[in-house]
């Protein structure tokens, strides 16, 4: 294609100045946008009103079609199930038997736990969920892993609250509008969740890897304590996430790196629960030494 002639302004001074002004505007616009980015990096909640309003406006569009997508995602599974029915049946029977044994063990443990807690006079903070909502979309074409939730400040959602599905932790709220909020999924690289190993309580940090997996970083140097099939739950450290929510399942444990997958797949979850911040005062500065302050537990 020949070069467009409209860019050549000829000898008209006015047209030349007009074009030049356009470029000045464009460059100024870029600088302004970079300034906005720097502000957003320094103060992530800077444009929360604007972004919240945009979320509110756009979320109804997304929530309309969620069931349709669920239907299409399910087709592949259904066909697979049909062909694998025989072996799946045997597997499921074995699993049911196994689960029954585990259930009895768990009941016994719960009873013992209750008795010991009564002995120690420890009471768990009452954890009622803030609200229940649906995950209706995600930033599927960007590098970040963010989800959209159909609940906002009108239902009591606050920035920082944890979001969990029936299986496990999904992420935490980072932006909220009146009727919708944005969730930082546990697989995003900016997400850091303090976890512990269910098997022996080893503390670790679950950091998203950006491709649907989670990296597990131990806090101590030494031999990799994780094995394939290990389950990690939130530890409650830091006061943001309530303890005991399943987060990740280890799929590969190497010498340097441990790869886990999230237990809750936000692509398959319809409903998610927003939980209150576990210990709201935990990230506040300590009280002055002179005046002891009664912190939450």
């Amino acid at each position: 294609m020949a070069s467009p002639s409209t860019r050549r302004t000829g000898f008209s001074r006015r047209a030349q100045y007009g074009l030049f002004l356009g470029y000045v505007l464009a460059v100024a616009g870029i600088l302004f946008a970079i300034l906005l980015l720097v502000i957003a990096a320094v103060d992530p909640r800077g444009f929360s009103a604007l972004k919240g309003a945009a979320l509110d406006v756009t979320t109804p569009v997304a929530s309309g079609g969620r069931s349709v997508v669920g239907f299409f995602t399910g087709i592949g599974d259904s066909i697979g199930n049909y062909f694998m029915a025989g072996s799946q049946n045997a597997d499921l029977k074995r699993e049911v038997a196994q689960n029954r044994r585990k259930l009895i063990e768990a009941q016994a443990t719960a009873l013992e736990n209750k008795r010991l807690k009564a002995l120690l006079k420890v009471r768990d903070a009452e954890m009622d969920e803030v609200t229940t909502a649906r995950i209706v979309g995600s930033s599927f074409d960007s590098l970040r892993r963010l989800g959209t939730l159909t609940a906002g400040s009108s239902e009591g959602v606050e920035v920082g609250q944890a979001v969990r599905g029936p299986d496990g932790l999904i992420g935490r709220v980072i932006e909220r509008g009146r009727w919708a909020s944005r969730v930082l999924l546990v697989t995003d690289t900016a997400s850091r969740v303090p976890v512990r190993l269910v098997r022996d309580g080893t503390p670790a940090m679950a950091v998203g890897h950006g491709d649907g997996t989670i990296d597990l970083n131990t806090l101590e140097v030494g031999e990799n304590p994780f094995r394939r099939g290990d389950i990690l739950v939130t530890s409650g450290t830091g006061g943001l996430f309530p303890p005991g929510i399943p987060v990740a399942l280890v799929v590969r444990a190497e010498r340097e790196r441990t790869v886990a997958t999230p237990i809750a797949d936000p692509g398959e979850i319809d409903f998610a629960m927003v939980l209150p911040i576990y210990q709201a005062g935990a990230d506040e500065p300590l009280a002055e030494p002179g005046e002891p302050k009664a912190g939450p537990r």
Partner: protein, 170 residues
Amino acid sequence: MSRIASADEYGYRIAKRQVVPVVTTILACTTDLLPIVMEQPLIPDFAFLVLVAWRLLRPEIWSAQMALPLGLFNDLVSGHPIGQSMALWTACFLAFDLIDSRVGWRDYWLDWLFASLAIVFYAFGSWYVAHMMGARIEMAIMVPQILLSLLAYPFVARLILALDRWRLSR
């Protein structure tokens, strides 16, 4: 039907010519609202592909600063930090203006080459913005999405070409 357009028809045609590129770009931005939840960055950013396809096909319809409002809209809809698409898209438009003033002609393959450069620039720009916001992403994770974007560009360009013919049809 007479061969001479009435005033209404004429106005409609003018509006169609001016509005179709902007509306298609805005529609491409709103693909982010589709209820898809993906755990891996794979799907190309169609808003950017459509924008680049329009810009390369019809350099005269938009001046460089037009990318600012479109980018702002994309940032708001898709939840990027405000300013990401504004800065990257406008920078791309300026680069395209520079290319147009230096390179005498373009054909299909050169268009694809310039679009590919823009896609790679956009991907690394987004990576840097994510880095600024505290998300440390490995470069390798971006590769499949970039490749898919490069392969998707000719299809998007075809679509835009068809739309352009409809836009200019009488």
